[in-house]
């Protein structure tokens, strides 16, 4: 059996790579494409997770909550873009300050409503299967499939009229405007889409994590690491960075404590970022 040959639980590593990909994809929109230093990204993950929890609390269905989570997060994102962020494009330091402030407001707001006590979102499947000797929890398999599906969907959208308009505005908003594309609408839709994906990520990851107001923070650093290491704006780079960072963390966690594993991954990201221009030249 494969599980007896490999030194680690390979499926857990794949699931961790998918998690890195899922939480980074939303940031790819706001930071990678729109150049917003988006420190509130973790809180949109949080909004998605708590939406799933709230719907589960009201209607007893975490699955329904997961379907609504991206919609709620996208609407909140659109609102934030219209009210705050729209005025701050090309002002990265101001954006950093505003998104940091907004993240505090959202986190504290959620703590006021739901308290700091841990909450639990029910795993809608709660079953596992044996696959080539590995125990594969079905919900983690769903996360892997959705992460891959979202990347494929993004690549397909890129070739459609909507995707071409999005790419045009990202490349040159003024020229896009002169060609009849409303750059403001496109930016709002891109930012909202990123927040929606972050919300979906939060809802999907909630059943396999303990939910608290700090939930989004644990994904923020890794999201930035993936997008920066993969080169902001590059989906291919983001895929590679997710595999490198998620894969390294997954393997290391089997041998050393999570804290040391995370430190090594951070170091790896710094070295890789430093070496990237040299590798490009070579």
């Amino acid at each position: 059996m494969l599980s007896s040959i490999l030194p680690v639980d390979s499926f857990s590593v794949v699931a961790l790579i998918a998690t890195f990909l899922l939480v980074s994809l939303g940031l790819h929109f706001s930071f990678g494409l729109l150049n917003i230093v988006n420190l509130v990204h973790g809180e949109f993950i949080l909004i998605g997770a708590y939406t799933a929890f709230q719907i589960q609390d009201w209607y007893g269905s975490s699955l329904l909550g997961m379907l609504l989570a991206p919609v709620v997060a996208a609407l909140c994102g659109a609102f934030a873009e219209l009210i705050l962020i729209r005025r701050l494009y090309m002002r990265p330091l101001d954006t950093l300050l505003v998104t940091f402030g907004l993240s505090l407001v959202i986190r504290q707001g959620i703590q006021l409503i739901y308290t700091a006590n841990p909450k639990q979102v029910v795993d809608p499947i709660a079953k596992s299967i044996m696959f080539v000797g590995f125990n594969v929890p079905l919900w983690r398999l769903v996360i892997v499939v959705i992460a891959i599906a979202l990347v494929v969907l993004w690549l397909v959208i890129n070739q459609t009229a909507l995707g071409i308009r999005w790419r045009a505005v990202v490349a040159n908003p003024e020229l896009a405007e002169a060609m009849g594309i409303n750059s403001n609408h496109v930016r709002t839709s891109l930012f909202a889409a990123g927040c929606g994906i972050a919300g979906l990520a939060g809802a999907l990851l909630a059943p396999i994590n303990t939910l608290s107001p700090q939930f989004g923070l644990r994904f923020l650093i890794n999201s930035f690491l993936v997008v920066i290491l993969g080169k902001p704006g590059s989906i291919k780079g983001m895929l590679v960075a997710s595999c490198v960072l998620g894969g390294s963390l997954g393997v290391l966690q089997f041998h050393i404590s999570t804290v040391y594993a995370q430190m090594i991954v951070l170091l790896l990201a710094i070295i890789a970022t430093r070496l990237r221009p040299l590798l490009k030249k070579a």
Binding site: A171, E177, A178, G180
Partner: protein, 231 residues
């Protein structure tokens, strides 16, 4: 002849810096007008303001409709196209994607685009090429096709022959002559020979103001253009 564009008392700039002051002029339907001036005279700033890419005070009327203070996208859809001086292509988009974008993904505009591509056959051979990797001249050609694909009534062209080889310049001037028979054109130009080849009527800008207007050939013959443009 009816008026295509009427600009009245337009003042604009960047932030608190005023670049263009109290400019008034008009363009008749189907005519080509040249805007001449040295670097820094405010020609590009004026075009951007008319195209809705910069805020301004004053009024701009296109085909009898007030378009002042609308955004660039609305103004473009009202029939005004803008072909910028530089960075006129989107990085990462192919030539074909530029063409699809320019015809607004409407296949009804395809025949018009085909006619325009006949002026620049080299673009047909590069449909799948990233537009950013085109030569300077080819980018200008793509700018022309893109600006005209949506059948505008007026095109603003900012230094359409700047920085290209003499052979390409001749080709572009030839195309511009054809284009000026199709739509009204406002051309910003620093090169006097190109201006003389393209239009009879022009304005000269200096320090953000229109300082001379009239027949370009007459201004040239009297030596006025040479003195204003320090040729």
């Amino acid at each position: 002849m009816s008026i295509c564009l009427e600009v009245k008392n337009l003042t604009t700039g960047y932030g608190s810096t005023t670049i263009v002051r109290d400019v008034t002029f008009s363009i008749e339907q189907g005519s080509a007008l040249c805007l001449l001036g040295l670097n820094g005279a405010g020609k590009t700033t004026l075009l951007k303001a008319i195209a809705g890419l910069l805020p301004f005070t004053g009024s701009v009327v296109l085909n009898g409709k007030e378009i002042s203070h609308q955004n660039g996208a609305k103004i473009n859809r009202a029939g005004l196209a803008y072909s910028p001086q530089e960075k006129g292509v989107f990085a990462g988009l192919t030539v074909n994607e530029h063409l699809r974008l320019a015809r607004r993904f409407d296949e009804n505009n395809l025949s018009r685009q085909e006619e325009l591509l006949d002026l620049f056959p080299t673009l047909r051979e590069r449909l799948s090429q990233d537009a950013q990797t085109l030569s300077g001249g080819q980018r200008k050609m793509l700018n022309f096709v893109v600006a005209l694909s949506s059948s505008p009534s007026l095109v603003l062209m900012d230094e359409p022959t700047e920085g290209v080889a003499p052979v390409v310049r001749e080709q572009l001037v030839g195309a511009l002559k054809v284009i000026s028979n199709m739509v009204s054109v406002l051309i910003v130009e620093q090169n006097l020979d190109t201006a003389l080849a393209l239009s009879n009527h022009g304005h000269v800008m200096e320090r953000g103001r229109l300082v001379a207007s009239g027949d370009i050939n007459q201004m040239h013959a009297s030596g006025l253009l040479e003195s204003l443009l320090a040729v």
